[in-house]
Symmetry: C2
Subunit: 227 residues, 2 copies
């Protein structure tokens, strides 16, 4: 199959780096999030903006990684990556000599780090807490790889790196959610050692249903107690 026009073809050795994101990555995070919403058939819930992503993910000062909301970027580079202790989470070589890869969006996803790098995915995670364990864990809110880069072991690299970091930080568990119809993802996660919990359901209070609770505790606090 010929590569689509304007696509960039990667072949031979390519280097992948999972690194901490910074505010320069926001435009790509925004577009990757929209692609993820399309994949999950959830575009009706998509309300992300670059401005909100910037202020919520990269406040000033930004807390240390994995102590609050943490964004990681997956970059692919045509040349070897020199790990940067302050931002590299994981890196590896990808051998594409047997199957070159055409990325039609390579130009649009040029990494702000330059050097011909292309941004191909992202992770958003943050600490959660288990009272039963009395320990923090990591919750992976998003893990996403753009379509042409899938099935190359990059999702596994990303999740392994996050799990490795959680284990080294002494955290008790890593959790995330999967749609019950996404059998590929479920098989992949189970293959990585995860349990898919059958009994728990997520409850969500949002939008107008949430807003109606504004002021509810003040009424309660100010009213009845003083009677």
């Amino acid at each position: 199959m010929a590569a689509p026009p304007n696509s960039t073809t990667f072949s031979g050795d390519v280097w992948a780096e999972l690194r901490l994101a910074d505010a320069r990555d926001v435009p790509h995070i925004h577009r990757l999030t929209h692609q993820m919403a399309e994949f999950e058939l959830l575009t009706d819930l998509f309300a992300a903006t670059e401005e909100l992503l910037t202020t919520t993910l990269f406040p000033s000062p930004t807390p240390p990684p994995f102590t609050s909301f943490t964004a990681l970027i997956l970059d692919l580079s045509p040349s070897p990556i020199v790990p940067d202790a302050s931002s590299t989470i994981a890196s590896r070589r990808l051998d594409l000599s047997a199957s070159p890869l055409a990325d039609p969006e390579a130009a649009a996803f040029a990494s702000p780090r330059g050097g011909g790098r292309v941004t191909a995915g992202f992770v958003i995670c943050f600490p959660n807490y288990s009272t039963f364990l009395s320990k923090p864990g990591l919750y992976v809110e998003d893990i996403f790889v753009r379509a042409p880069w899938r099935r190359r072991g990059l999702g596994r690299m990303m999740l392994s790196a996050v799990a490795g970091r959680a284990a080294e930080l002494g955290m008790g568990r890593v959790e995330w959610c999967v749609l019950d119809w996404n059998k590929n993802a479920i098989d992949f996660y189970e293959g990585m050692g995860a349990d898919v919990l059958p009994q728990w359901r997520i409850c969500r209070l949002a939008g107008a249903a949430l807003d109606k609770y504004k002021g509810s505790q003040e009424e309660a606090a100010g009213g009845k107690a003083a009677e």
Copy 2:
């Protein structure tokens, strides 16, 4: 039915306060968590200790409430509560004149705040993040009321207060989990305006399955990239 021996009977007006917890509440949080594990048939997962609860929930300095792991305590008082702006989240009067309440564990759960107060429940919550909304939310890890105090509107008061706080902080949503067999809880949550999401399943990597990822990103970072 006669009250069990050693139980304390509450009647007439009683005042409920949901307040920020501090380290003095840890022994009660520990025992409430164990009661919760019994209720959820999950005592095999219970590994909480008072020491771990103290260091993880009340580090020094403790971050502002709702910016990190946050513990709230439900106290019941035989006398009116004067709200304390620095710790009261919500309070209300309970009229028990029609149905006095016997609490067999009242002495064991005497509140560290004194004044004849009894600790009857707790909440653990922490910020989560929605990339689709690009906003933080609150995740309620635990919400628990001891058996004799249930069906008095206290669970509603606690969840309403947390939802109210989240809404006032500009958060996008409040989420928590429920066991799919707990129909009472599901009905209650739906009655409060929550959606129970049918499609999402929680994936969990913990224990030995998590530990095996220790060092995985160092190998990846140090190895292949330099070849």
